[in-house]
Symmetry: C2
Subunit: 312 residues, 2 copies
């Protein structure tokens, strides 16, 4: 495979090379990459801002995460935070710290993932920063989104007797990670070993290429449901529920048999002799939406929206 | 000195501890730290966004940069990008990657610097992310600002016969860095040595605690000057001028004897047998404003605004 050193492009040439393929999709993006700051116009909408810093060896392991998937996931997890406010992501900035280990082709892969995520979710790349790093890869993404004034959903609005709802299923991303970690150990002791990923495609996809629940936000709007509180599940159901309860000043009751769990995740947990419920409660990285709503509003709406279309 | 381990607080406790002292100063900040995203309302103003990633060992050296100064500078260099668009910085998000070497007290110092910068420039801290790092400190800051629709100044508007203007003086921050590097080497060979900083306060301050030119933006507005192009000098005058010329499709002529240089910087350059003009052209980190304006508009305005009040 070809290897072009980053130094051949220089900082500004590199940014231009990596970002020129991105097409602007939103009317709110007036000026993207190429000046001291990007310029946006949100007119009468309110603005949502979220940010994230991912460091190699802490948040991702390039032994089993392809760079394209990493770019996709790094963008999508930020979109997820904007959906969790009942908003729409519109722009991202991407800052990279890159060690000499990485070539221009590596960064092209990473940007291909970012570009795909931007295309799928209708988001514009509007700026960033690329610099040297002494150790590995650092990715910082800030996502800006819009929401209508009265439709923003915070964590602090849950009421007594509200239903607690989660989308999709929980624990699969964590079981995917456990599988990848197992195969990494097998590979490190015998490099001839082929990874055993049969019938594990769903949990792998949940770990390596998660999606944000844009579809759920659309379905809630179509069904006229405004949740009383909402957040996305990045750290695990139990941690997120505590945030909602604390900020809303309510308690909660979780029925173990109602926690949605995928069959592949159950099989994987059995293979590894782990508790799938623990994985669902504490595993994290599901990027599903956790929300509360009045019983009346959820009864009026179709419950179909709570099913994950990607799930078995 | 007391040392509290970060693990004692946990991620969410730590963020709360570090950010609860920050007071909201802007009407546009509706919701800051504590949800999936911050919420802003800019009404009819346009929105400016800039971002920056700073990595230990690449962008800063904690041997001679106090953490409070680092926090101050990390914020101010982002404000500078917003002023360079002729806007006003209003909000920042701060993401940190922190290795075990750092204590809660260290982060309190860093945040004290961020807080001071926010107070001096009237900016709100609205969110962020704190996570572990395997190696040293990583700081990613995104700054959001506002500007009036027709007052934004890009890099691409310079016209033939415009004057090229710079504020303050150039090269001092670079000479301050050279001084700190020299004293670091002296210290590493003889730890009894006391650093020799006599009559060097100005160049040290320019390196360790730079300011963004909010005053110049105000003065330009008061004098009714809208520059034809503008950017801040972070990489050095020659690099920035090339950006303006390329994007504006013009050439430029720089008179060496007109480049503003501080006396302490000249003395330091002589001591180190370096060219102060090279430092002024290529040193960077001055965070002064470089702009172009029609001769007519600058003749009408008081030239006092181009003097740096902090300079000798």
């Amino acid at each position: 495979m070809q290897r072009t050193e980053i130094a051949e492009y220089g900082e500004f040439g590199l940014i231009k090379h990596l970002t020129e393929k991105f097409k602007t999709q939103n009317a709110s993006t007036l000026k993207g990459v190429g000046d001291d700051a990007a310029v946006l116009d949100y007119k009468d909408k309110q603005i949502l801002v979220t940010t994230d810093l991912l460091l190699e060896g802490v948040h991702f392991d390039l032994v089993y995460v392809p760079l394209k998937h990493l770019g996709y996931k790094a963008a999508v997890v930020n979109f997820s935070d904007i959906y969790a406010m009942n908003g729409q992501p519109k722009q991202i900035t991407v800052s990279l710290g890159v060690s000499k280990r990485f070539s221009v082709e590596d960064l092209e892969e990473l940007y291909a993932g970012l570009e795909l995520a931007c295309k799928v979710y209708g988001v514009d790349l509007i700026g960033g920063d690329t610099s040297a790093s002494l150790t590995g890869l650092a990715i910082s993404i800030t996502c800006i989104g819009e929401a209508e004034k009265d439709k923003i959903v915070y964590r602090n609005g849950a009421k007594v007797n509200d239903l607690i709802c989660v989308t999709g299923d929980l624990g699969s991303a964590y079981m995917g990670l456990q599988l990848l970690e197992r195969e990494k150990i097998v590979f490190s002791t015998s490099s001839d070993a082929q990874p055993d990923f049969e019938d594990k495609d769903y949990i792998l996809q949940r770990q390596l290429k998660p999606e944000a629940r844009k579809d759920v936000i659309q379905a809630l709007a179509q069904n006229g449901i405004v949740p009383t509180s909402m957040m996305d599940i990045s750290d695990g159901l139990s941690s997120e529920l505590i945030h909602i309860c604390t900020q809303s000043n309510v308690g909660c009751r979780v029925y173990e048999d109602k926690i949605p769990i995928n069959y592949q995740a159950v099989v994987m947990a059995e293979e590894l002799n782990m508790s799938i419920v623990t994985a669902a409660l504490n595993g994290g990285e599901d990027y599903e939406l956790l929300f509360t709503a009045s019983i009346r509003s959820t009864m009026l709406a179709s419950l179909d929206i709570l099913r994950n279309p990607n799930s078995d």
